[in-house]
Amino acid sequence: MFEVPSLSDLNVGATLPVTLLALGACVLLVVDLFIPRERKSITAWLTAIGIGVSLVFSLLSLSGAVEFGSGELAFSDMYRADRLTDTINVAALITALLGVMVAYDYLERTRLQRGEYYILLMFSAAGAMLMGAANDLVIVFIALELLSIPLYILSGFRRPQEASEESAMKYFLLGAFASGFLIYGIALIYGATGTTNLPEVWDAVAGVVAEDSAAKFLVMIGAGLVLAGLGFKVAAVPFHMWTPDVYQGAPTPVVAYMSVAAKIGGFAALVRVFGMGLSTFVLESGAPAAWQDTIWLVAVLTMLLGNVVAIVQSDLKRLLAYSTIAHAGYILIAVAAAGTAGLEDTAAQAVVIYLIAYAFTNAGAFAVITAMEKDDASNTSLDALRGLASRCPWLAAAMAVFMLSLTGIPLTAGFVGKWFVFKVALQADLVAAAVVGVLTSAVSAYYYLRVVWMMYFEEGEGDAATPPALAWAIGVAAVGTLVLGALPYLLSDMAREITLAFGG
C-alpha cells in the first residue's frame, strides 16, 4: 500500500528557504494579475521582498542561529539541508536579487515590463537552490528543469526581436537535448545500483566496484552522460556551443542572472552527484575516482577554449560569454579534485567559494553592459567602451574591478576563488590542470585588460545610463567583489564547514 507521509515526516521546515521562494512565486503569479501594467514596480518589489525573506532564512540557517526543521533530510530523503545547501541558497538568492535589480529599469525602458519576468526568475532561482539540496538523482533532474525552463523563456523575452527569439530557441532545443542525456545517465546509474538516492548510490557503487561486475560499465556510461548533461548547463567544452549565441541574443539582464544562476545550479549538482554519489567509483584501490581524469581534461579544454576564443571577440557580451566558459573550466578543476579520496569536502568548499565570488563579479559585469546598452540592444561592442572612464568614472571603476576580479588579481573576490581552486587542485595532484589554469589566467588578462584599456586609455563617446536600481546592483556587486577580496575569511569561514555528509 502506498502510504501518504504526514507533514511532519516531510520535514518541510528544513526546506524553508526554497519552499518559501517557490510558494511566493506561485502566489505572486496570481497577485500579479491584479497589478495594472503601469505599476509593475509593485511586482518587482514583491519579488525582491520574497527573495530577501528567503535570503534572510538562508543566512539564519547558515549562521546556525536558528535550526529549521528536524535533521538534515526532508521529503523522504529527497532533500538534504546541509551546509552546502545553505551556501548554495545564499549564492543563488543574491544572484536573483541582483537579477531583479538589474532587470527593472531595462524592462521599463524597452517596454517589456511584465510581471512574468520576475516570477520566472524566482522559479529558476528555486531550481538552482534545489540542485544544491538534491539528495536524489530525480531531484537533480527536476531541479535542473525548474532552473532551465524559465531561463529558456526569459532568453526569448524580447520577442519579437529576432536575436532574442533565436537565442531562446537555440537554448531550448540544445537544453532539452542535454536534459535527455542527463535523464538517460540517471537511468543507467539506477540500472547499475537499483537506486536513485545519492547516499544509497554511494553505497551501491562501492559494492558494484568491489564485485567487479559488468554493472560498473553502466555506472561509467551513466556518469559520462550525467557529466554531459550538467556540463551543458555550466557551459563546459565540448557542450559549450550554445553559450555565445544565447548570451549575445538574450536580453542583457537575463544574461546577468542566468550566466551565474545556471552555473551555481550546475556546479552544485556536479558536486552532489560526483563528489557525493559517485565518489566511491574507484576502480583501483588507492587511485582517485575513475571520473577524475575525464573531468580535469574537460576542465583543461574548457579553460583553453574559453580563454583563447575570448581574445578575438569584439562584442562585449560575446567576450564575456566566452569568459564564462573559461570560468566553468576553473571550477571544474575543483570538481575533479573531489575525486581524490579525502578531498571531497575541500573541493566542495573551493567550488562554493568560487561560485559566490563569481556571482558578484559576473552579475556586476553584465549589469554594466546593461547600463551601456541602448534600447535597440546596440552599443555593446568593445568600442562602445571608449572613453567611458571620463564620462562615468564610477561605472568605469566598477567595471575595472569586475574585470580585475575575473582575471584573478588579488584584493578582488576572483583571486580568492582561484586561490582555493588551485590549492585543492595541487592537493589532489592535478598539477597539469593547475598549470594550464594559471597560464590561461595570464591569457585572460589580455582580454579583460582590453576592456579596461578601452575605458581608460582611449578617447571616445562611451556613455551609459545608470538608473537607481541598476546603480545599486552595480554598487553592491562591486563592493561585494572588493570586500570579499580584501576579507577572504568571509568566504572561507562560510564554506569551511561544508562536508559532503558521508564523503570520507
Partner: protein, 507 residues
C-alpha cells in the same frame, strides 16, 4: 586589540591618503597635489622612525605585526608584516622615491589629476606591502597589486605607444608570477602555513623538506617570476618598452623600486627556502647576470634615445645585483642589497633628468641636444653627479655597491673568477655609454637655436634632484652606516646557506 606596529602604520598610511582623493569631490587640483605630497612625506618621516627604532643587532624580524586573516583546520593565512636587515632599506627606498616622483609630477601631469595621484598612493602602498609582507599569501597579493597602478600610469599618462607597453608590462610580469602562485600554494599545502618565518622554522627543524628535484622545480617557479621583474636577460624585453613609454614618475618608480621587488624576492625567498637549489643554479644565474651586464651596457651604447639608454643601463646594473646575490656570500649579498638602493637612487635620478629635458624640448633624442651645460648650468651640474654615481665613480654610491659585489663574487665558492672579470668589463662599458651620453647632451657647442633659451631648473625640479644628490654622497661616503643595518640579517642568511649546503654535501 594589541598595539599597532610602526610597520603597519607606514604601510597603511598611503592607503588612508587615497580615501580623501576618492571621496572628496570638491578638492582642487592644487590641493590634491599637495595632499598627496604631504601623505608621502609623512610616510617617509615615519619610515625614518622605523630606521631609528631598528635594532641592528637583531637578525630576525622586527616591529612585527601578526593577525590571522584566514584560518582553517589545515592552514593559516596571516596579515604578517615586519622588517629585517634585508628589507629595511628597500622600504626606505620606496618611501624616499615616492615624494620625489610626486613632486616631479606636479608640472607634467595636467590630465585626470585625481586619478593620477590615487594611483601614485596605491602604488606606494602596494610596494611597501611587498617589502614588509612575511606571509606568502600577503606577499603574492601585493606583488600582483603593484601591477595595476603601474598599468594605469603607463596606459593613461604614457607617450605614443603607451597601450602596447602597458599591456606588455602587465602580461609579461603576470605570466611569470602565476607559476610562483602555484609554487606558493604547493609550499603552503606542504607546510600547513603560509607564514614565512614558520616555514623557515619547519625547514630548520627538518619537519618540512623537499626532495632535490622538487626543490629545483620550486626554485625555478619562484625564480622565473622574479627574473622577469628584475629583469634578467633574456626576459627583459618588456622593460625598454615600459620605461620609454611611461611618464617620468612612472619610470622613476619602475626603475627605482619595482625592479627591486625581483632582486629582493631572490634574497627573501629563493635563497633561504631553497638553499641547495640556489647553490646548484648559482653559476647559471650568474652567467645570465653577466650576460645582462654586458648586453645592457652594449645596447645602451647603441641608443640615440636618452630614455632608452637609461632603460637598458638598468638591465646592466641589475645584472650586478644578481651577480652579488648569487655569489652566496656575505659581501656579495650585502653589496647586492646596497646596489639595489643605489640603482634606485641613481637611475631614478637619471629618469628625472630625462624627464626634465623632455619637458623642455619634447624630444628624447640625444642629437637634439648638445652644449646644454651653457644654458642650464645648475641642472647640468647635478646631472653630472648622478651620471658619475651611475658609472660607479669612487666616493659616490655606485662605486661602493659595485665594488662590494665584485669583492663578493671574486671570493665566492660557487662562482668562477671569470664572472668577476666579465662584470668588471661591464663597469668599463658603463663609463663608456654614460660619458658618451653626457658628452653628446651636455658638452660641446650650444649650436642649436632652440636650446639656447632653455630655462634652468624650477623649484620643484631642484627639490626633486637635491635629495638624490645628497643620498649619492651619503651612501658613497658613509657606506658603513648602511651596511651596518643589514649585517646581522645577511650574516644569518649566509650562515644558514653555508650550513645546509655543507650538510647536503656531507650526505
Amino acid at each position: 586589540m594589541e598595539d599597532i606596529s610602526l610597520v603597519t602604520v607606514v604601510f597603511m598610511l598611503p592607503l588612508v591618503g587615497v580615501l580623501p582623493l576618492l571621496f572628496v569631490r570638491s578638492l582642487s587640483e592644487h590641493t590634491m597635489k599637495w595632499l598627496t605630497l604631504t601623505v608621502s612625506l609623512v610616510t617617509f618621516g615615519l619610515s625614518l622612525l622605523l630606521l631609528y627604532n631598528f635594532d641592528t643587532r637583531v637578525a630576525g624580524l622586527q616591529m612585527v605585526q601578526k593577525w590571522d586573516w584566514i584560518s582553517s583546520d589545515s592552514f593559516t593565512i596571516r596579515y604578517y608584516v615586519g622588517v629585517d636587515g634585508i628589507s629595511i632599506w628597500l622600504v626606505l627606498l620606496t618611501t624616499f622615491i615616492m615624494p620625489i616622483s610626486i613632486l616631479a609630477s606636479f608640472e607634467p601631469i595636467k590630465d585626470r589629476v585625481r586619478l593620477y595621484y590615487i594611483f601614485m598612493l596605491l602604488m606606494e602602498w602596494a610596494m611597501i606591502g611587498v617589502f614588509v609582507a612575511q606571509d606568502l599569501f600577503l606577499f603574492y597579493v601585493f606583488w600582483e597589486v603593484t601591477l595595476i597602478p603601474m598599468y594605469f600610469l603607463i596606459g593613461i599618462w604614457g607617450s605614443e605607444d603607451r597601450i602596447y607597453a602597458a599591456i606588455k608590462f602587465f602580461l609579461y610580469t603576470m605570466a611569470g608570477s602565476l607559476l610562483m602562485l602555484l609554487a606558493i600554494l604547493w609550499l603552503g599545502n606542504e607546510a600547513g602555513t603560509f607564514s614565512l618565518p614558520e616555514i623557515f622554522a619547519k625547514l630548520n627543524s627538518g619537519e618540512l623538506s623537499f626532495s632535490p628535484s622538487t626543490e629545483r622545480w620550486l626554485f625555478l617557479a619562484f625564480a622565473i617570476a622574479f627574473a622577469i621583474k628584475v629583469p634578467m636577460w633574456p626576459l627583459h624585453s618588456w622593460l625598454p618598452d615600459a620605461h620609454v613609454q611611461a611618464p617620468t614618475a612612472g619610470s622613476v618608480i619602475l626603475a627605482g623600486v619595482l625592479l627591486k621587488m625581483g632582486t629582493y624576492g631572490f634574497v627573501r625567498f629563493n635563497l633561504p627556502l631553497f638553499p641547495e637549489a640556489s647553490e646548484t643554479f648559482a653559476p647559471y644565474i650568474a652567467l645570465l647576470a653577466v650576460i645582462g651586464i654586458i648586453y645592457g651596457a652594449w645596447v645602451s651604447y647603441g641608443q640615440d634615445n636618452v630614455k632608452k639608454l637609461v632603460a637598458y643601463s638598468s638591465i646592466s646594473h641589475l645584472g650586478f645585483v644578481m651577480l652579488g646575490i648569487f655569489a652566496l656570500n656575505s659581501s656579495g649579498i650585502q653589496g647586492g642589497i646596497l646596489q639595489m638602493v643605489n640603482h634606485g637612487i641613481s637611475t631614478g635620478g637619471l629618469f628625472l633628468m630625462v624627464g626634465m629635458l623632455y619637458e623642455r624640448r619634447h624630444t628624447k633624442m640625444m642629437n637634439a641636444f648638445g652644449g646644454i651645460w651653457r644654458a642650464m648650468p645648475l641642472f647640468s651640474g647635478l646631472s653630472l653627479v648622478i651620471v658619475l654615481s651611475s658609472m660607479g665613480l669612487p666616493g659616490l654610491n655606485g662605486f661602493v655597491g659595485e665594488f662590494t659585489i665584485l669583492l663578493g663574487s671574486a671570493g665566492s665558492q660557487v662562482l668562477s673568477l671569470w664572472f668577476t672579470v666579465a662584470a668588471a668589463v661591464g663597469i668599463i662599458l658603463a663609463a663608456v655609454y654614460m660619458l658618451y651620453m653626457f658628452n653628446t647632451v651636455y658638452m660641446g657647442e650650444l649650436d642649436k637655436e632652440e636650446n639656447k633659451r632653455l630655462p634652468d631648473l624650477n623649484w620643484q625640479e631642484l627639490w626633486s634632484l637635491i635629495p638624490i644628490v645628497i643620498m649619492v654622497f651619503a651612501i658613497g661616503l658613509q657606506a658603513g652606516f648602511f651596511f651596518n643595518y643589514m649585517d646581522s640579517s645577511v650574516r644569518d642568511l649566509v650562515q644558514y646557506l653555508g650550513d645546509t649546503i655543507t650538510a647536503a654535501a656531507g650526505r
